[in-house]
């Protein structure tokens, strides 16, 4: 009722694990932010529709030295089978947030270095990044040299929480593409048990570079996933991303992409397919900080059960960014009486010679389309499947890497079948 700025909920469970002894300034800043602001509740505008209130009551612990190897193998094998992953594809595997060299097969053509005890932390202002900075202990930096096409690889995260223990893992990754370099990454996360996965990825694409980032989030239904991507895109370079969210009880994928030189391109596409009592949030801020850049965003939500989907997308066009072309579309399909969508597509524009638009639609399956299919002999449930997949098709289709697109399509298929089971 009153407008007093609400303080967040306590981040004590996380702050207790921060010893403060390593002298890292970014870490100290993060601790300060979390102490001051806490974990956001919905009173904070950037978290208007997603509260982290439930995190405050859970005594999250750091990952034990040893993970349950059998469970890890089983989860990896399941994922390979379910999404028909190419077994020969190079992969970097993290188990409980720590790099697992035994399970990894690192690709040629790029250098992989491990996160060195806090040294690589880039400071970011958002809460999820601060939480990561506070507790990050591992992660990978993938560097592709100028002009090299490093092909395709997988970045796999497996989290297995021991029974009765809630884990939180905070990997910090970085992908750096030199001028004209290319890389496609399938970023897959799976897990079992009660945990919080809080990965932060810093992306730097130099002039003419091209990074494709296909993310498939299939965490345990009880887990929480709090991911942030910070991307900086150079001249004539591109960051082409798609995030498919299927897992976790509470998930947020947050993207901050900055077009910092002429001719850059950013795609922040995604789909969230949710059922049960899942809550998933896709939040993005695309900043045009240079002229003649292009950003595209298509986000789809398919919601059933009591699920709640959130989309917050902002396009910010700075004064210098004349000739900007920005487009944003978000659509939601509600399949049940209790599902909810909250969307906030936002344009903030300070340059006049721009073309920016956004569109949003929310609705149920179209009765006329269902009738049409029915009149052609396609039964109710099958007709629904066709329409839902068609709805998702124009988003998934935007994934630039064909093999990764196929993986995403299989994941959609798997979700639909499992939902019926």
């Amino acid at each position: 009722m009153n407008a007093i700025a609400p303080a967040g909920v306590s981040a004590a469970a996380f702050l207790d694990r921060y010893t403060g002894g390593d002298g890292n300034a970014t870490r100290a800043q993060a601790a300060d932010l979390l102490r001051r602001a806490g974990l956001p509740r919905t009173g904070v505008e950037a978290w208007k529709y997603t509260s982290l209130r439930t995190l405050a009551d859970i005594p999250f612990a750091g990952a034990p030295a040893q993970a349950d190897g059998v469970a890890v193998e089983a989860l990896l094998a399941d994922a390979v089978r379910a999404y028909d992953l190419d077994a020969d594809l190079p992969r970097a595997v993290l188990v409980n947030g720590r790099f697992a060299p035994d399970l990894s097969r690192l690709p040629d053509g790029l250098s992989v270095t491990r996160f060195a005890a806090g040294a690589d932390l880039t400071a970011h202002g958002d809460v999820a990044s601060a939480l990561n900075a506070l507790l990050a202990e591992d992660g990978l930096t993938l560097t592709v040299a100028p002009g090299v096409d490093a092909g395709r690889m997988m970045l796999l995260s497996v989290v297995v929480a021991p029974d009765g223990v809630a884990l939180s893992v905070h990997p910090r990754h970085r992908i750096v593409l030199g001028a004209g370099a290319r890389l496609s990454v399938l970023d897959l996360s799976v897990g079992r048990g009660d945990y919080l996965n809080n990965p932060v990825l810093d992306v730097l694409v130099a002039e003419g570079g091209h990074l494709i980032h296909a993310k498939l989030q299939t965490e345990d239904p009880a887990a929480r996933h709090l991911a942030v991507v910070h991307a900086e895109v150079g001249a004539d370079a591109s960051y082409d991303s798609f995030t498919l969210t299927l897992g976790a009880a509470l998930a947020r994928h947050e993207v901050h992409a900055r077009l910092k030189a002429e001719g850059g391109i950013v795609h922040v596409n995604g789909a969230q397919l949710l059922d049960g009592r899942q809550i998933a949030d896709l939040t993005s801020v695309i900043t045009h900080a240079a002229p003649s850049c292009n950003s595209r965003q298509t986000v789809k939500n398919v919601l059933t059960g009591h699920a709640r989907g959130v989309f917050q997308g902002k396009i910010l066009v700075e004064r210098v960014a004349q000739k900007t072309d920005g487009y944003q579309m978000n659509q939601a399909l509600l399949l049940s009486d209790h599902a909810e969508i909250d969307a906030k597509p936002e344009l903030e524009i300070y340059a006049d010679d721009v073309r920016c638009s956004h569109g949003a639609t929310v609705g149920a399956l179209d009765a006329d389309q269902l009738f049409y299919l029915r009149s052609r002999g396609v039964a109710g449930e099958e007709a629904r499947a066709i329409l839902v997949k068609a709805f998702l098709h124009d988003a998934v289709e935007l994934m630039g890497d064909e093999a990764l697109r196929a993986v995403l399509n299989r994941a959609v298929e798997t979700w639909w079948t499992r939902k019926d089971a």
């Binding site: 407008a3 909250d342 969307a343 344009l347 524009i349 340059a351 721009v354 149920a364």
Partner: protein
């Protein structure tokens, strides 16, 4: 009461001030001393001879307000407002209440004449010759509010014959307490938000409209607001209740003199529409926007909300916002009745250093409720303009529909235009469509107009009017003409 001496001083000091700019009415004012305490509220209530319940209501609002802080979410910035540094009551001095136009201070009438407000209904009715070039207008009943109080309401007899009550709200409190008590604060509760709570505590006048069952209000009703005195805030309260099957069209216009200080205007408007009722509320807001360096101007922080309580009721907001240094305003509809309709048509123009954060809320509660939002935003100079809107489909809003279109036009590379829609749906069969675009004036269109011999300024005016056409056509005719002229004036100096 010690306040009286202070009041006298205040009035005297006012008399000594010299105003650099015209358009200021030198009139004897009765003012409350500066500052806002419970005493101020008691003074206002006493001055207006209000019943005890209303004083209590005000005090409740004041208590709530004290516990609140100013909202900071809007995309506007201004130095902190010292709420103690203003007069909360300013009224033209009068002997007794004016019974007819003859008794109204001629100075006041001249002010409204200058503003082109037709108070002289007799002249209008008699159809006396109009000055050359002036077009005869259809009769419009006017309630003129000068600073804190309503000075005159015209056409009351004609309206009374139809059963329509149209009077200053302070009079309605005396004459129709049961109606006011029943509906006041029922749409915008006392503690709804910071500025609404402030208004509830200190509101001084405004208009009250009651249209009984089945009556189609025989003429347009209009209120004209004028802030005249220095260091005052204007806090008017408008309440419109339209019963089953009745309808009304209501116009609101506002101006203030040019000053290099900022003045606060925090109004509350409440609309109630019962079964099959319809309310059309049109605003042309032209408060003083400040000069080209952003000095002065009105802070316009307004809460407007309509409740479509009845089935098939309809509330339509149309606004042309060209004035004010800062606009913070979200005329909303709560669509409670089944099949209720909410509409919002808006043109917001900002130039120089103006800031506007405006939009609407459409809350769909009933089945098959429908809402349409058309918002056109034009930014020029160093101004910032934001559309902020909410469309919410509640679980019972089966079959509800919304269509939203927001277009922004940027003139010059030093301004900003922003769009912040909130879209929330909790009903599977509700359908929402939203689209927004941002662009500048097309070079081709401009070239075409210039080639036909139009000056650049005229060409921009023409294109802007075309851009706003969807909204302007919703305005009552004589308002539309005024609005078009206003658009042109507001954008003066923004091209070239």
């Amino acid at each position: 009461m010690p306040a009286i001496a202070e009041t006298r001083d205040a009035v005297e000091s006012l008399g000594q001030s010299t105003y650099k700019w015209g358009f200021e009415t030198e009139i004897e004012m009765d003012m409350a001393p500066k500052g806002l305490t419970e005493e101020t509220i008691r003074l206002i209530s006493h001055r207006k001879q209000e019943p005890e319940w209303l004083l209590e209501w005000r005090l409740k609002a004041f208590q709530a307000w004290q516990a609140m802080t100013e909202p900071t979410w809007a995309k506007v910035s201004h130095p902190p407002i010292d709420f103690q540094d203003a007069h909360y009551y300013a009224a033209p001095k009068k002997k007794a209440g004016p019974k007819s136009l003859e008794e109204v201070d001629p100075e006041l009438l001249r002010t409204y004449e200058k503003l082109g407000i037709p108070l002289h209904e007799q002249a209008l009715l008699a159809g006396v010759e109009l000055p050359e070039g002036e077009v005869a207008r259809p009769p419009v009943a006017v309630d003129a509010v000068f600073d804190s109080v309503s000075v005159v309401t015209t056409f009351r007899e004609t309206l009374a014959k139809a059963g329509v009550i149209f009077c200053p709200i302070s009079e309605a409190v005396r004459e129709h307490p049961e109606l006011v008590r029943r509906y006041l604060g029922s749409v915008v509760p006392v503690a709804d938000n910071f500025y609404a709570a402030l208004n509830s505590a200190v509101f001084t006048d405004g208009s009250f409209v009651y249209v009984p069952k089945g009556v189609r209000c025989p003429m347009e009703l209009s209120t004209y607001f004028r802030i005249n005195a220095r260091n005052t805030g204007q806090f008017e309260r408008t309440l419109i209740v339209v019963e089953d099957g009745a309808s009304v069209s209501y116009l609101e216009g506002c101006t203030a003199p040019m000053r290099d200080e900022n003045q606060l205007h925090a109004a509350v408007v409440e609309l109630v529409a019962m079964d099959d009722a319809s309310i059309k509320y049109s605003t042309v807001q032209n408060w003083y926007p400040g000069d080209e360096h952003g000095r002065g101007g009105i802070y316009n922080f307004v809460t407007k909300r309509g409740a479509c309580r009845g089935d098939r009721s309809k509330i339509s907001w149309t606004q042309v916002e060209t004035g004010s240094a800062i606009t913070w305003k979200y005329p909303s509809c709560i669509l409670q009745g089944d099949g209720a309709v909410g509409e919002f048509y808006s043109v917001a123009v900002t130039n120089n250093h103006q800031q506007a954060d405006t939009g609407t809320k459409m809350i769909h509660l009933g089945r098959n409720t429908r809402s349409t939002i058309i918002a056109k935003t034009i930014s020029a100079g160093h101004s910032d303009s934001t559309y902020r809107g909410l469309v919410r489909m509640m679980p019972k809003a089966a079959g509800a529909r919304n269509f939203t279109q927001c277009d922004s036009l940027l003139i010059g590379d030093q301004c900003g235009a922003h769009t912040v829609p909130y879209i929330e749906s909790r009903n599977l069969s509700a359908k929402i469509e939203h689209e927004a675009t941002t662009s500048k004036i097309s070079e081709d269109q401009l070239f075409y107009c210039r080639q036909r011999g139009l000056s650049e300024e005229d060409a921009v005016g023409l294109i802007v009017n075309g851009f706003c056409k969807d909204v302007l056509k919703e305005l009552p005719m004589e308002f539309a003409v005024e609005a078009q002229k206003l658009l042109q004036i507001s954008l003066e100096g923004s091209v070239g």
